[in-house]
Symmetry: C2
Subunit: 179 residues, 2 copies
DNA sequence: TTTTCCATGTAACTCGTTACATGATTTC
DNA sequence: GAAATCATGTAACGAGTTACATGGAAAA
């Protein structure tokens, strides 16, 4: 329901058409959600079917008319409900991305370190990119702060892992050997 | 590809059948991946089609025979490749779960605080649960440590958010008002 | 004796992505 | 004149989940 919440929340601040919504999300919120164009259009259709939004067609010249959405009272109600649901719960993120660490013993120490340093560089680059993002106004800034906080935490953690691997005598575990 | 990596990595330590694999993942790795039973079975079929594993049917009494999988050399190769791919890259986790924070201004301060404290309690409970997990052997422990590190970081961050909201004069943003 | 566990699977469905299609307008 | 941007959509596909189906063995 996060996608709906997001769209409702954005529309709440003012009417917009699908392209605009997608564009805004893509540019500013890509780090916390992924919403492709077709998905956005389909979602808006559904929200309209729900009675959460109404559409006004605005044509300019010969272009395809913009379908400008705005919140209905029912939409505002849904927004309030979804917002409370979202804020009140904590859902831990599942990266899946660190499953590899469970098997790092399969590699020779030198290669493990090389790969972890490569990973560290990628993380570092993402962090740098984020630190360069200008301050947003309002509560969007919270999302950015959260991401910064998260990335810095990951970096610190990765450094302890690297130190841990480095400081340890190790013979790689071959296929067929049990712990 | 994390799921394949996981299955290969487990099979690498010894032959297992589908039920066993799913059961192990469900019990020990639920926090970093989600792999339902049918998905596991289908995945093992595909891995067999890829030539990554071979099956041996083991029947005990009148039960349905266990399909015991073990790694082939091609499977070991795939494992090595996937492992390197996984370790060398950093993929930031997308919770989607904190989109609500971008709209927290829509709520009266008291309610925002109530919800954030509810969220904090949920997070705290998850953390406590994790702190109770007994030490695993080998590198599985890294996954648990990571999760602990992550949850503690989230808790610290949430506390700063709560403090921030608490310390601020605020009139809720109503529908239709722009920032 | 009823529930839970062991053990495997299939089929329908959901959600979202990719690829494709259209066409005007602005920028290079 | 070509490429990118604005603006909307449809259709096929893919990955994974839910629900369902089966049946023996062990535990309560």
């Amino acid at each position: 329901m996060e996608r709906e919440l997001l769209l409702l929340g954005l529309l709440r601040q003012g009417a917009m058409h699908g392209y605009q919504l997608h564009d805004f999300i893509e540019r500013n919120l890509a780090f916390c959600t992924d919403l492709k164009k077709p998905t956005a259009y389909v979602l808006l259709d559904k929200m309209q079917a729900n009675g959460w939004v109404v559409v006004r067609e605005a044509r300019e010249g010969n272009r395809p008319p913009k379908r400008v959405y705005s919140l209905t009272p029912a939409g505002e109600e849904a927004f309030q409900r979804l917002l409370r649901e979202n804020l009140g719960a904590f859902i831990a993120a599942k990266t899946g991305s660190d499953i590899g660490l469970a098997f790092i013993d399969a590699l020779p120490k030198a290669e493990a370190l090389r790969l972890l340093n490569q990973r560290r560089a990628a993380l570092s680059a993402q962090l740098a990119e984020f630190e360069a993002v200008p301050q947003h106004q309002g509560s969007y800034q919270l999302l950015i702060d959260h991401q910064l906080h998260y990335l810095r935490g990951e970096l610190r953690w990765l450094d302890t892992v690297i130190a841990h691997i480095r400081s340890r005598r190790h013979v790689p575990q071959r296929h067929g050997e049990r712990t």
